[in-house]
């Protein structure tokens, strides 16, 4: 069994992943750039659209699978990760990309986030983190900062946010990166790295909601974003990764925070996947001799 993505037999390009449906996101929404970056990454990796599945939850960002030409699942709010894990383990020849919003992934889906990470399931998880609930028209999200005024906190949010990068690292993710919609090329490389990584890879993306988040805007981010590469960060240094992951203020780093390759992914640990191809394609019937042995065990 190989955990590496299946390359396309004929060369593919970004264009192959374009969908006839135009996204219904608000003009200027950060998610456009994430979609484009994903399409570019898939094309540059030369993957075949039928060997890629994009799985989302519910939210503005979770509409993404409808705008990319490959297999797609638009699941329930908060549930892309268990669905993705089921899909991937049932067919590990398919490259599975889970996508969604900060509410979807770090709020209602946070238990799945923790446990999918610790199991190191071979998935790429892209969170379009706009620090707000977009689709429900602007309530506080788990990454909304303290003091932020939203429809659900008109006097200012009194809760501390979740810090996705340190959280993912401690949960056990083996590739933890953060990108920014306005740095599309950089984002493409982070996504490509995530897809090529054999294990659970998080790409948290600052993807501004231009309609409801009036605090964390492009202008706001542009002033603060710093590339980890420029900061001399070493993604194998745990403490540095934690420090950088917590940074929030005048300087906010993006890039690859943390990567480790010493842990096997779950599919590599499951002997039944070692040979025989994807589970989904295998013979389903119990061979007569095994059936007989099972029956005998009852005697």
């Amino acid at each position: 069994m190989s955990a590496a993505p299946t390359p396309a037999s004929a060369p593919t390009t970004t264009k192959d992943f374009k969908h006839r449906i135009h996204p219904d996101w608000c003009p200027g929404c950060g998610d456009f750039s994430v979609l484009a970056a994903l399409q570019t990454a898939l094309g540059e990796l030369n993957l075949a659209p039928h060997h890629v599945a994009v799985v989302s939850g519910i939210g503005c960002s979770s509409n993404l699978p409808g705008y990319i030409n490959c297999y797609g699942m638009h699941t329930l709010h908060g549930r892309p990760l268990p669905v993705s894990a089921g899909l991937r383990l049932a067919n590990h020849e398919v490259t599975v990309i889970a996508v969604g919003g900060d509410g979807d992934g770090y709020g209602i889906g946070s238990a799945h986030f923790l446990h999918t990470a610790r199991r190191n399931i071979n998935l790429t998880y892209i969170v379009m983190d706009n620090q707000i609930y977009g689709l429900t028209t602007g309530q506080t999200s788990p990454t909304s900062v303290k003091g932020m005024k939203t429809k659900s906190t008109p006097f200012g949010n009194v809760e501390s946010p979740i810090m996705p990068v340190p959280l993912a690292i401690v949960a056990g993710a083996t590739y933890v990166a953060r990108g920014y919609s306005a740095k599309q090329k950089h984002l493409v490389s982070l996504i490509k790295g995530a897809i090529q990584h054999k294990g659970f890879a998080l790409v948290d993306v600052f993807s501004p909601c231009v309609t409801f988040n009036k605090d964390n805007t492009y202008v706001w981010f542009n002033k603060r974003i710093k590339m980890l590469e420029d900061l001399g960060h070493d993604p194998t240094d745990f403490h540095a990764a934690m420090e950088r992951g917590y940074q929030w203020g005048d300087e906010i780093p993006i890039g690859l925070f943390w990567k480790r390759d010493d842990l096997p992914s779950l599919e590599e640990s499951e002997p039944i996947l070692a040979e025989g191809g994807p589970l989904a394609y295998r013979e389903v019937r119990v061979p007569p001799a095994k059936a007989e042995a099972i029956r005998k065990s009852l005697l």
Binding site: A8, S9, T12, K18, H19, R20, I21, D24, A48, P49, H50, H51, A53, V55, I58, G66, N69, C70, Y71, G72, M73, H74, T75, L76, R79, L81, P82, V83, A85, G86, L87, R88, L89, A90, N91, V94, H112, L114, H115, E270, P271, I272, L273, G276, P278, L279, A280, Y281, R282, V284, R285, V286, P288, K290, A291, I294, R295, K296, L298, L299
Partner: protein
């Protein structure tokens, strides 16, 4: 259901080895080709408390654990104190003189004190001594017990085997010398049965159905299904996953099933509650999945080790909105085994979720089974599904979404549209939990179009018609003309059948039985044909509110004449139904709630 049955009760604390003793007896019966049913009444604690195992065996088929105890084996004082008073003339009570003081038995009850200390110095072997004594009284040759003990302790070495066999033989001989055996020794039929629990049968049925992905979060009384799959996972190449909760279980099911695996899970009512949203999503995405709800006494955490049929309406109302689904009940281990492949074939044909309602009684009950009846070669029909190998040569592997060459949700007369699994060239599409058009595009992404919404809603619901035709209607069991028709579902099949035989035999009353296995879709026509002709219809169910009675009425308008309900956690026993039918036929009541005497 003969008079030739013997019933053994074993009582003690959790952790005192009741299960082991019961298992040894069960294996001996099975090897002698005797039928049996075992029911364990226990508490939700790991050690201590009070556990009472009832084991009924007979040359003819037995469907319940019966109505009485012929031999009571007391492993602690509590058992003596609680159960002696229900022992009737002709029965025997075995106990270890070392730790138990007998009470005053009723006339004709034989007290059988066993001085275990005199037989073996090892206190841990007191149960083994008692087992030997029981065997002797049943008139079974000692070699059977010796064989079982040898197998059981193989790993522990010859010395341990010898010590156990010695203790057992001591008990066996002591009983032969001091106690009156049962008048009819237990026969040997020349056949050989296996021992199975309902949960094992559900799991094996899953394997026979071709399940390649089993997902669980532990919950009593469904955990046995997980344990079986975990044990056979590697040998059978089945992916078994334990998840963080039941929400992830149900959603992982969707991912695995969409990939093309037959995927299954089992839980109990509380876990099922957390899965309901996902079942609706599976229906919306038209992905076939199978979920088992092994019901226990509710509401909420309820009584985790007790049985009930309290989740029918939960299954009927699972998740928001209307969607096609199949709901089927199981009544025994054999039925459980057979139902799983049948349900998979159905839901893979109609692309919707299938729910199996079992309960603690069926799932944790142990029974004899004819291994030959566990058919692993029954038909597997995968329905309209497209794998890469089936994909016709396509102009482009990236085709599907953009050229609309493949419409995942094509509107058809049956409501079913062929599904393609990810990895298949030329069939790209999105499955969505939002309402969508034939090509999977969200209707709100172009325009929320009421006509399209209606068409898709109707397409999905049309599947119910096809499903109804694909499943077997219930059939009346027993005499065509009867004083009363008992109606039940799920685990009550056995006890109703035995009660009917008893009513006929002991009271000369003709009563018949309509067992409703399939709950959704519902055979309104066929059921009404039977019920409209019945003299008096009495519904038997383990529910305080009469969930089945209300559901039957919602589908037929038919109000039963009487109800027999039990909701104290313990299952019906045949005599409960006999007494209730008699009082209802005598016009004394239309609602009988039998009192459970055995374990109070």
């Amino acid at each position: 259901m003969s008079q030739e049955d013997f019933i053994i009760g074993i009582g003690g604390e959790n952790g005192q080895g009741i299960a082991t003793s019961g298992n040894v007896l069960a294996r001996i019966f099975a090897r002698r080709g005797l039928h049996f049913v075992a029911y364990n009444s226990y508490q939700s604690i790991i050690r201590g408390g009070h556990t009472f195992l009832t084991l009924r065996t007979s040359e003819s088929e037995v469907l319940t654990h019966g109505d009485r105890v012929d031999a009571l084996l007391c492993l602690n004082q509590d058992t003596m104190d609680r159960h002696l008073r229900i022992m009737k003339a002709g029965s025997s009570v075995l106990f270890d003189t070392e730790k138990i003081r007998p009470g005053t038995p009723a006339e004709g009850v034989q007290l059988c004190p066993i001085p275990s200390k005199a037989i073996t110095p090892n206190r841990l072997l007191a149960n083994t001594v008692a087992l030997g004594a029981v065997l002797r009284m049943l008139g079974i040759e000692f070699s059977f017990l010796e064989e079982i003990l040898t197998v059981q302790f193989r790993k522990k070495g010859d010395a341990v085997i010898a010590e156990n066999v010695h203790a057992a033989k001591g008990g066996y001989d002591y009983a032969g010398e001091h106690f009156t055996p049962w008048p009819k020794p237990l026969p040997k039929t020349g056949r050989r049965f296996g021992v199975i629990t309902g949960n094992e049968a559900l799991a094996m049925g899953g394997a026979a159905a071709g399940v390649k992905f089993y997902i669980a979060y532990p919950m009593s009384p469904a955990t046995g299904v997980l344990v079986w799959f975990a044990k056979y996972a590697r040998e059978l190449g089945i992916m078994v996953r334990q998840m963080e909760d039941e929400i992830s279980v149900a959603n992982m099911l969707i991912g695995a099933a969409h990939a093309g695996c037959r995927a299954m899970c089992a839980t109990s009512g509380g876990g099922f509650a957390l899965m309901t949203e996902a079942f609706g999503a599976a229906a919306m995405m038209e992905i076939p999945v199978v979920g088992i709800n092994v019901q226990r006494a509710g509401p909420a955490t309820g009584v985790p080790t007790k049985t009930e049929q309290g989740d029918l309406w939960q299954a009927l109302g699972a998740g928001q909105g209307d969607y096609p689904r199949a709901i089927v009940s199981v009544s025994s281990a054999q039925d459980a085994f057979d139902t799983v492949p049948e349900l998979f074939n159905l839901v893979e044909k109609f692309h919707c979720p299938g729910i199996i309602l079992s309960d603690l009684l069926v799932s944790e009950g142990t029974a004899s089974v004819d291994p030959a009846a566990l058919k692993f070669d029954q038909p597997i029909e995968r329905g309209p599904i497209i794998f890469p190998k089936d994909a016709p040569a396509m102009p482009s592997a990236a085709s599907g979404s953009n050229d609309r060459a493949y419409l995942r949700y094509k509107i058809t007369a049956s409501g079913v549209s062929p599904r393609a699994v990810p990895g298949t060239p030329g069939h790209l599409h999105v499955v969505a939990s939002d309402e969508h058009d034939e090509d999977g595009v969200l209707i709100s992404d172009e325009f929320t179009n009421p006509a399209k919404r209606r068409a898709m809603h109707e397409k999905r619901m049309r599947k119910m018609d096809g499903m109804l035709k694909a499943i077997t209607p219930p059939q009346l069991f027993g005499p065509a003309h009867a004083e009363a028709t008992l109606v039940g579902w799920g685990s009550t099949l056995g006890v109703i059948r035995e009660a009917i035989a008893k009513l006929e035999r002991e009271e000369g009353l003709r009563v018949n039985h309509l067992h409703v296995k399939w709950l959704v879709p519902f055979h309104t026509k066929e059921i009404m044909e039977v019920l409209s002709k019945a003299k008096r219809v009495i519904i038997v169910e383990n529910s305080i509110s009469g969930q089945f009675a209300r559901y039957l009425r919602s589908e037929t308008g038919f109000a039963a004449h009487g109800h027999i309900r039990k909701y104290d956690g313990e299952p019906f026993m045949p005599h409960h139904l006999v007494a209730a039918v008699k009082e209802q036929l005598a016009g004394k009541t239309t609602l009988s709630v039998p009192v459970h005497e055995i374990t109070v």
